[in-house]
């Protein structure tokens, strides 16, 4: 019988990215005991990779900006499927959260008068992203980490949660194992905050790391929580395409924000050819106007390269399919051209986009100050996630909260760049506060010992099957291949039906995977365990995408290419039924209050 090491906290935070750390700091500040569990070392979570910036209507660069504009931009970007309450709170509280970060030591780039500088990003009407060159995520996670270690929280690094524990219908903590030795743990807790991030590893081409196997979504789903908006997976328009081994690695939108342009192999700026109705009013109609916008001319409108990500990704896809792509199956992204407009453009680019310069120089032997890059779409962000109450971040399971990429609601059908880092701060803080309050208001919980044993035995099963059984890496690879080809940027019913079949077969194979060696830092074993989660989220994405018979935001259905007004009033909910099967249903959006409707009207 596997042994368990036992810990007990008021609040357990699962995940130590921006959302998890912000939640833990807040919970600790509210006077409860806090434990944090994360799969990697502290400071290595996905948040560290974020580049472009944090969206907040500070109005430091353009004083016309305020929460109402940010709210309207977020709703428009999400095609109005967003949880409007979250969009409202986010727009209102983001500036305060950015200032809080500064008070904890973050050092953002500055305006001439010494305030926090803000940059342009797709879908944001005014320059809104507080940033540090193109390594904003590093600044954010390090600030939270360095503040957090003195804030009174116990961190369990390199531990993976296997399942959530319930006491009756209430959350009771989580169990898992450490990567170092494969020892099992119980973290008993009165309240749990899920902050586990996204699902990018379900696809072959992705900007996401090994961590993104959808664990939080699968944990919540298996515990009986509702998931929402699972069909909306963001494909970022600009990932690296060459060399093959770096395919998918992100090229920040900041490149376009600083004046970078997209061209096909004929040299044409194809983004001017297709500007959606919803954005016509706000988009430049000449190259010159677009350039002036990126340089801060308040009278100019934004260039079409800064349209929302779903749209830019599809335009790139179209160019490539039409044979107008670059040599390695992407298109050209050019920032070097600004030498025609700016003196000392090389230094300017290196200062504004240092890690992009470094990344291309080192990984692709290419100098972005002199040559165009080749880029193509890459799986980037999960808009869907755990369904929550907008104010408290409470899920449908009492005591279970969620924040960050694992949560659904704020972004609707498509997320605007920069709105994730602000999301982490605003809702991490809220989740931490409400989880602490829940823990204070509710008594101790018990742990179901037989459940623990079952979880541990299931986790150890791959060792019994041994190394001659099915290879876990191969099963993961086959799933990624299927999701990429059948449930990617362009979707149709027949392909998705096929995907469901493949997922079914892969589930059988996943049951048969085996690993050799022992429990000590065994990556093969970890991969085998994560498979179950990847399969759940892949099925949820596919079923939700099948049900939504329209194209909206990140979901593009070739068989239903238009928007459907009826679907525009509904979210899709995914839940495990009493029969153990996955249930998918449409649910009416709650009505929006008149004041918010008026804001949207006013900003049209």
């Amino acid at each position: 019988m596997p042994e368990f090491q036992r810990f007990s906290y008021d609040v357990l935070v699962i995940g130590a990215g921006g959302a998890g750390l912000r939640a833990a700091i807040e919970a600790a500040a509210n006077g409860v005991t806090v434990g944090v569990v994360c799969k990697s070392l502290l400071g290595k979570a996905h948040t560290v990779m974020a580049e472009g910036g944090i969206a907040a209507a500070l109005a430091n660069v353009d004083d016309r900006d305020n929460w109402r504009v940010h709210f309207a931009d977020t709703m428009r970007g999400g095609q109005y499927l967003n949880n409007w309450r979250m969009a409202e709170l986010h727009a209102k509280e983001a500036p305060e959260c950015v200032r809080e970060l500064e008070a904890w030591g973050a050092l953002f780039d500055r305006t001439k008068d010494g305030k926090i500088l803000q940059r342009n990003f797709g879908g944001h009407k005014y320059p809104r992203l507080a940033h540090v060159g193109d390594r904003t995520g590093l600044e954010m996670i390090r600030t939270l980490q360095d503040h957090g270690i003195h804030a009174g929280m116990e961190v369990h690094m390199e531990c993976t949660v296997l399942s959530l524990l319930l006491d009756g219908n209430r959350i009771a903590g989580a169990c898992g194992y450490d990567r170092e030795k494969g020892r099992f743990y119980v973290w008993q807790a009165k309240a749990v905050v899920l902050a586990t991030g996204g699902i990018g590893r379900a696809f072959k081409i992705t900007s996401n790391s090994w961590e993104y196997t959808g664990d939080g979504l699968a944990l919540a789903y298996r515990a009986g929580a509702e998931l929402q908006d699972m069909e909306f997976v963001q494909f970022h328009p600009t990932g690296m395409v060459w060399p093959i081994s770096v395919r998918g690695i992100l090229v920040t939108e900041g490149v376009r924000g600083e004046g970078g342009v997209l061209r096909n192999k004929e040299g044409r700026r194809f983004m001017f050819d297709d500007i959606p109705e919803l954005y016509k009013e706000q988009t430049a109609d000449s190259e010159d106007e677009g350039w002036r916008y990126t340089q801060g001319d308040k009278a100019a409108r934004r260039p079409p390269e800064l349209l929302t990500r779903d749209h830019v990704a599809r335009c790139i896809n179209r160019e490539v399919k039409a044979g107008r792509g670059s040599p390695h199956g992407g298109v050209f992204l050019d920032i070097s051209w600004i030498k025609e407009r700016l003196p000392k453009s090389e230094e300017h680019i290196k200062r504004k986009l240092p890690s992009m310069y470094h990344q291309f120089k080192q990984l692709a032997d290419l100098d972005i100050t002199k040559e165009p890059m080749e880029v193509g779409p890459t799986t980037h962000y999960m808009m869907g996630g755990v369904r929550l109450d907008g104010d408290s971040q409470a899920s449908t399971i009492p005591g279970l909260f969620a924040a960050g990429e694992v949560a659904a609601g704020l972004h609707g059908a498509n997320r605007l760049g920069g709105n994730s880092l602000s999301d982490l701060l605003v809702f991490g803080r809220r989740a931490g506060r409400y989880a602490a309050a829940f823990a204070k208001a509710n008594g101790q919980v018990g742990v179901d010992e037989t459940g623990l044993q079952t979880a541990a035995e299931a986790a150890l099963a791959p060792f019994e099957r041994g190394s001659s059984a099915e290879n876990p890496y191969q099963v993961q690879y086959d799933l990624q291949e299927a999701m990429q080809n059948l449930v990617g940027i362009v979707r149709t019913e027949s392909e998705m039906e096929q995907a469901l079949e493949v997922i079914g077969q892969l589930r059988v194979r996943a049951e048969r995977v085996g690993v050799g060696g022992n429990c000590e830092y065994n990556n093969g074993w970890h991969t085998a365990i994560d498979l179950g989660n990847l399969l759940i989220v892949s099925e949820a994405v596919t079923r939700a995408a099948l049900l939504r018979k329209e194209s909206r935001g990140a979901q593009f259905r070739e068989d239903f290419p238009g928007k459907d007004a009826e679907w525009g009033k509904h979210n899709i909910i995914v839940k495990r039924g009493a029969d153990g099967e996955m249930h998918v249903e449409k649910r009416l959006l709650p009505p929006m209050p008149e004041e918010l409707k008026a804001v949207i009207e006013e900003m049209k």
């Binding site: 070392l41 996905h46 500064e102 390594r135 590093l138 503040h147 060459w242 050799g516 065994n522």
Partner: protein
């Protein structure tokens, strides 16, 4: 156009281990981490390795490649002579957990002994500060650190003299410099740097600076100015006199 190459990877744990040879096909543009992943997926599923971003941003994949401390994800195979086996081993300064994974937890513990950021009162009534870009840039260099701990790995005070209990190493001196030179910080760490963190143990060999993948000028920009602050406070007779007066 794949070329075959041999990778000599250290396998083992705290009890001991040794090198094992694997062959893998190398294609254009591949980095060392790609080769390790290929080997893991096809030949050695239980091979232990850390990574996250694959783009030099997270500092997870540190190792010694042909004896040189490097990030595996940023070391291109085209820059290595593939006629000889490529050796890949864990960082030596830290206790090995398994294969290429080491126990770097000491760095996290040692960091806690450095006094945290304490801002001066806000400059504006709305609780915000005004800072010039030039002042920000000086410190931003230090804040680029991705905590790969390669500099700690090469520092002889830690690697050969095992002074982990007394000396915080270059990474954490960079951290202390980032705080001390932060335009808003009002805390004083000079006495700690001298007595608790023993900055004096560093004899400016510059080994740390030479391996930093973020090209942080660790010695010249961080350590030497910190040493100067210590000297100014404790060894400059004139200044000492002024303080007494």
């Amino acid at each position: 156009m794949a070329t075959p190459a041999t990778f000599r990877i250290w396998r083992g744990n705290s009890a001991g281990g040794g090198f094992q040879d694997y062959s893998a096909a190398v294609e254009e543009g591949m980095v060392v981490l790609d080769a390790v992943h290929h080997i893991q997926a096809q030949q050695a599923p239980d091979l232990a390795v850390r990574w996250n971003c694959k783009a030099g941003k997270c500092g997870s994949c540190s190792a010694e490649i042909n004896g040189m401390p490097k990030l595996m994800c940023m070391t291109r195979l085209s820059d290595i002579d593939l006629n000889e086996p490529v050796t890949i081993e864990p960082m030596h300064t830290f206790p090995v957990i398994r294969d290429l994974v080491t126990d770097v937890s000491w760095n996290f513990k040692a960091k806690k002994t450095i006094k945290q950021f304490k801002p001066r009162p806000p400059d504006a009534p709305d609780g915000t500060w005004r800072v010039q870009q030039a002042d920000v840039e000086r410190v931003q260099e230090f804040r680029k650190c991705i905590e790969c701990f390669l500099c700690q790995d090469v520092c002889h005070v830690l690697r050969e003299h095992h002074k982990q209990d007394e000396f915080i190493g270059p990474r954490l001196l960079v951290h202390a410099a980032a705080l001390e030179m932060h335009p808003l910080d009002a805390e004083d760490r000079v006495s700690d740097l001298r007595r608790l963190h023993n900055i004096g143990y560093c004899n400016i060999t510059t080994c740390c600076r030479q391996v930093c993948p973020e090209s942080i000028t660790i010695t010249e920009n961080a350590i030497i100015p910190l040493k100067e602050r210590v000297v100014d406070r404790y060894f400059d007779p004139l200044k000492r006199l002024f303080r007494i007066l």
